[in-house]
Subunit: 379 residues, 2 copies
């Protein structure tokens, strides 16, 4: 059931354990979907249900222990974690806290790290977290020194291949848009049709789709569909994060409904040029802040200016991962980081236009995972 | 952009505020997708991105205040919340905690309630929650007395209509399965095709799909697809939570691949009979525990026994909501609860079979939202 061979997961455990040693952590307590995918090879769309908490304990030495609702036992047994403890959830009296505290107690942790900062949250009820701490008065609950987040940031070759596969599927779907979408359709109809194309091209499912269908640009990039039909001069934007074999792509494409304002075409040209410029400069060791500055400056020309917000981010098991392309992220780019490049431009009409591509950082420079898209295609 | 008229949301605010008064709460601090949908009419698939926190503050009197990343401002302005404060997220130095604490400080709360127990979590980094509490030393952070969860449990007529619409779409999709799915397909191919049918029938998207394709039953109900093709005698199970206009359905169907073991047909008959029995008894005022006992007993016959776990749950903006049909849930059923009925049976071969339907509780009894499905159809 796990996506990769056991060795891939063992490498992840060992890397985490080495970092735990450095940070003085006896163990990690993980509760999020992404952690179960990364460390346990556990994939299910059942995370949609908020009812039950799931716990993964990774000690500084030895194999991880899954403390999970019994509904997940059979699926977990097909993965890479052997040590599985279950309870029948939901249990109004004790929803796993007894068995989890006992597990932690038996290992004899003096402290345990939890994902603590940006891009993380604790996926369990606050009352139960409090009860857990009370049951373990000698265990110090600490931040995890970003171990899980930092590890996920650098992909293995196997992971890069999965992301490339997702990008390829979305690329084929986008390529079919001009032949498949008609200008008489509403954005809601287009969203349905586009998801159908993605599935036909091999997506397992499409967790993320946002877009716009508006005259000469749009105002935001996170909107759901609406029932208004397109009109001549509109921009159709589709931004998708589809999953194949557990990994995301995350990129968009802009299309012209008939004849559009030349200003929009100019803006799109700047966006694709800025993307190419970023790709050229995204080399191992380059500070992310330098890429941000470069893009930011290049976006400001001829009455156009940068649209605000970050200009890209990491990508993998989640739609958006660490790091962000922002002004004060001084981290150098590393081999096997997978990043989105996402320039946003504000046009003289006050609307924005955004273009997004995905790359992997390699010794040869940034390598495209998404197909090149130049001029906006016409619908 | 909001799904309903302003009055629907105002009613929700007032009901919450009345409960806050009773519980002695000055305000609520909400961070989850479901709360933004319920109280702000804010719908976006952007929750897929874990990067940014979102905050909704509902004071005991007055209108809610959204403290959100600026990327969401335009979309939020189209909804029902007027008071919107933003920051440019992600901000490595202060990701909204300064502006949120200032907002809470300005209202002058002495305490604030957070969703605290089962089915809730705090969707923000723990470090930021700690920083927030430190910035507001005179504000007591408390449990929210389950106000948000309890309110969502009882649906308005407008909400029931949305859920019924989602059920109807999935019902049409399931009805097309025998004509559309071929026994030569793998479960992965079937999953893709089924999602395409759901979209064709009007689903906005399909957040949840799990299933099985195995000889004479299955071992769990949360598995993702695999590449193994079906064989004569297999059971194909598809369990979907699709969304139309913001609301979920959640039900499954079992199909026979060719000629199956009569034992499986017998088990299926028990499941559909038990579902009908539950529907007959789910009247306003009946304790949920009584429904559980009734179903549990009826599942145990002729070598079959109940499959374990809960036998149904609430449903609405989330795939699974409060309450659960379990032995120690003594809450009486109320008018306008929307519930799944989900009997699970263990067969003499050790495998399970699960059947699920959705109903709304009314003064006339439990009303089906999903079409009746009797004998397993054959593929």
């Amino acid at each position: 059931m796990a996506l990769f061979a056991l060795e891939e997961y063992q490498t992840r455990w060992k890397k985490a354990q080495s970092k735990m040693k450095t940070a003085g952590l006896d163990g990690l307590l993980l509760t999020q979907e992404v952690d179960f995918a990364y460390f346990a090879g556990f994939h299910t769309r059942f995370w949609q249900s908020p009812t039950r908490p799931w716990f993964l304990v990774l000690p500084q030495s030895g194999n991880p222990i899954a403390v999970i609702p019994s509904i997940g036992e059979h699926l977990m047994r097909q993965g890479v974690v052997d040590n599985i403890k279950t309870w029948s959830a939901p249990d109004l009296n004790d929803d796993g806290i007894g068995i989890l505290s006992q597990t932690i107690n038996n290992i004899g942790f003096s402290n345990i790290g939890l994902p603590y900062t940006m891009e993380s949250h604790l996926r369990m009820p606050l009352a139960d977290f409090q009860a857990l701490q009370e049951k373990l008065p000698t265990v110090e609950f600490r931040d995890d020194a970003n171990i899980a987040r930092d590890l996920r940031m650098i992909k293995s070759q196997a992971e890069v291949a999965r992301i490339e596969q997702a990008c390829s599927i979305a690329g084929k779907a986008f390529a079919r848009v001009p032949q498949t979408i008609h200008k008489e359709q509403s954005l809601a109809q287009i969203f349905r049709k586009f998801q159908i194309i993605c599935l036909e091209e091999g997506a397992d499912f499409i967790p993320y789709l946002a877009g716009a269908l508006e005259a000469s640009g749009y105002n935001d990039v996170i909107s759901p569909a609406h029932d208004v039909k397109g009109r001549e001069g509109d921009v159709l934007m589709l931004d998708t994060g589809l999953i194949r074999d557990g990994y995301f792509c995350d990129f968009n494409r802009n299309f012209a409904i008939g004849k559009i304002d030349p200003m929009v075409r100019d803006a799109h040209k700047i966006l694709t040029d800025v993307t190419e410029l970023a790709i050229e400069h995204m080399k191992i060791g380059t500070a992310i802040s330098a890429i941000y500055d470069l893009m930011q400056k290049a976006l400001t020309q001829d009455g156009f200016k940068a649209g605000g917000g970050r200009l890209g981010h990491g990508l993998g098991l989640y739609l958006t991962e660490w790091p962000s392309i922002i002004a004060d992220e001084y981290m150098p780019l590393s081999d096997n980081m997978v990043m989105t490049i996402e320039p946003s431009i504000e046009m003289p009409n006050g609307k924005i236009l955004v273009h997004e591509d995905n790359v992997v950082i390699t010794a040869m420079g940034a390598k495209r995972l998404t197909p090149y898209y130049g001029e906006m295609e016409i619908i």
